[in-house]
Symmetry: C2
Subunit: 339 residues, 2 copies
């Protein structure tokens, strides 16, 4: 979680100087910001600095990041007429050329470091809701009004976005990304029934298309607020399901079934605690998840103000997970079988 | 959900004129605002107009409602010294005399209308977090820092609040309230493990104390964002567990077990939809919950801007629930047993 972060002083030097879109669309800056966390913490992967909204201007939907407000879409998509004016992302290399430059360069860095390059996209539901809402709204009011009064319009938009996101994720892979993460950041606005109708099938269509064309590329899906939706996700075509921190790891494993790998689910606020508490909480998560099929991660983005040293502790404990699991297995073996 | 509401024009006439604390602490106004939804929708209950923070000034914690920001506590409780300065609510009738005036008067109204009067309180965790945080914060940062660095301070505060809330809820009952609801409005900030340590035991202590002293008074507990915590709540001493709308009703029933009654869990944004959609969604919730042990409700407060007529439709469908369940039972009986 968090390809780069406001919690890093090196990052803030850039964010104080350049607006978000300039940072994410200027290869030199985006590459530098992508590399910062790797250089600081020697993570196993590099996540490219970008945003789930980055492909939208390539489809004719302009957005901007406004300080303290988040992304703002000045001209939200709320009618069939508007939908018809959108342009398919048929030629991403000409519409979003910086993506190729950034990812191919990062791939060289990743290869020479022996680590993995991760790309990511938003899900159709999340991008549709952002584009219809225009800005963050705790009730997702405008999108839900359309969902209630004109579900066909929402479905048409979801269908359009699904096709574009398949193209866009493919472009990321062909530019160098070795893993694709799908973020359903606004899944928390949906009841399980709404999730089944407006998000899951489209997310699944993207995943299946990617797995068909790029079977060697692992796909991770993460639904924010997905705790009540895990059973629905147990049939996912993705390789990994991300967990926020509202669910108990063992319950999540049970609901998803043995075949699904998981990512998560440490409370990011733990990183404000003393070192021994961070260590204890991360170890608790590792042991609850078990030695296989788990990518250690926080359950939501690293919070602004998090001490950089705490992220270091988190990564250090992660690197010792093999020893931790081996010790747990040895302790388990020494215990009487029926206790 | 929502004892009174910003969605009602009659309510806004008062909220435009008088600040929140004046409205909730002046008996004539609080009584009028409590009665408005009953008069408009002929609900089965009357919920007194108040706030979960209302008892805090009686313990020495002053708060104010700031437009667009919500409650603000100018002097947050973050030290042992501050905690020692707080005053137990041993004599609520002198500290919060308006509560008795409001509830005893409303009880006469409820009795003459043949409906039930509901009181409510916040849980120890939620009031502690409000008092430590000072204002709404999406990461609950200040409280969680204390949770990480000085959990003993948080536990002392929770212990103090638990005792005061038992007194305060008892005072509500003795003033006329016939049901007590406990709102754990900030439960969503807690992981299941944190909930087990910092909220559930204190909420349970309040509930058990009330059930011991007032066995005839039903207790409803509602944890916002409680979807991943339902199994933990299955041993509750409360009569009813409230559900937000992030969980599927049948899953919630399964996790809570057959002995626990439920309240909820319609998405409040449904009320922005056309009448037939509202009707269909409410009926779906009623049928999923089954004919017994369910209080129909929205899963979170009614959203500002909700048409008053939509609340009317919601209540009308609720009144027809007997006929709906009877019809479902008859249809079920006509189906072959093994299908």
């Amino acid at each position: 979680m968090r390809q780069a972060g406001r919690y890093m002083a090196a990052f803030r030097e850039f964010s104080d100087k350049y607006p978000f879109r300039m940072r994410s669309e200027t290869p030199d800056i985006a590459i530098e910001l992508s590399m910062q966390p790797y250089r600081a913490f020697k993570t196993d992967g590099i996540i490219f600095f970008s945003d789930i909204l980055t492909p939208l201007p390539g489809m004719g939907i302009e957005f901007d990041m406004v300080k303290g407000k988040g992304p703002v879409i000045a001209n939200p998509v709320r009618s069939v007429e508007h939908l018809k004016q959108l342009v398919p992302l048929s030629d991403p290399a000409s519409r979003l050329p910086f993506i190729h430059t950034i990812l191919s360069s990062l791939r060289r860095e990743a290869d020479s470091a022996g680590v993995t390059l991760l790309g990511f996209i938003g899900t159709p539901w999340t991008l549709a809701a952002y584009s219809m809402e225009g800005k963050s709204d705790k009730d997702c009011k405008e999108t839900k009004k359309i969902m209630m009064h004109n579900p066909a319009l929402l479905h048409s938009f979801l269908d359009f976005l699904t096709e574009q996101l398949i193209v866009y994720a493919g472009y990321q892979i062909e530019s160098g990304a070795q893993v694709i993460q799908l973020f359903d950041s606004w899944a928390h606005h949906l009841s399980p029934a709404q999730f089944s109708e407006f998000s899951l099938p489209y997310m699944e269509r993207v995943t299946r298309a990617l797995k068909a064309k790029y079977p060697h590329v692992p796909v991770i899906v993460h639904a924010n607020g997905g705790t009540g939706k895990l059973e629905l996700m147990s049939n996912t075509s993705a390789d990994v399901v991300g967990l926020d921190w509202a669910v108990d790891m063992k319950d999540a494993r049970k609901q998803l079934g043995a075949g699904v790998k998981v990512q998560g689910n440490v409370d990011p606020m733990i990183l404000f605690g003393p070192e021994d508490k961070i260590r204890a909480e991360v170890e608790r998560c590792l042991l609850a998840a078990g030695p296989r099929g788990h990518i250690l991660n926080v359950g939501h983005g690293v919070v602004q103000g998090t001490p950089e040293s705490a992220v270091g502790v988190f990564c250090e404990v992660a690197r010792q997970s093999g020893a931790l699991h081996a010790k747990a297995a040895a302790n388990g073996a020494r215990q009487p079988a029926l206790v």
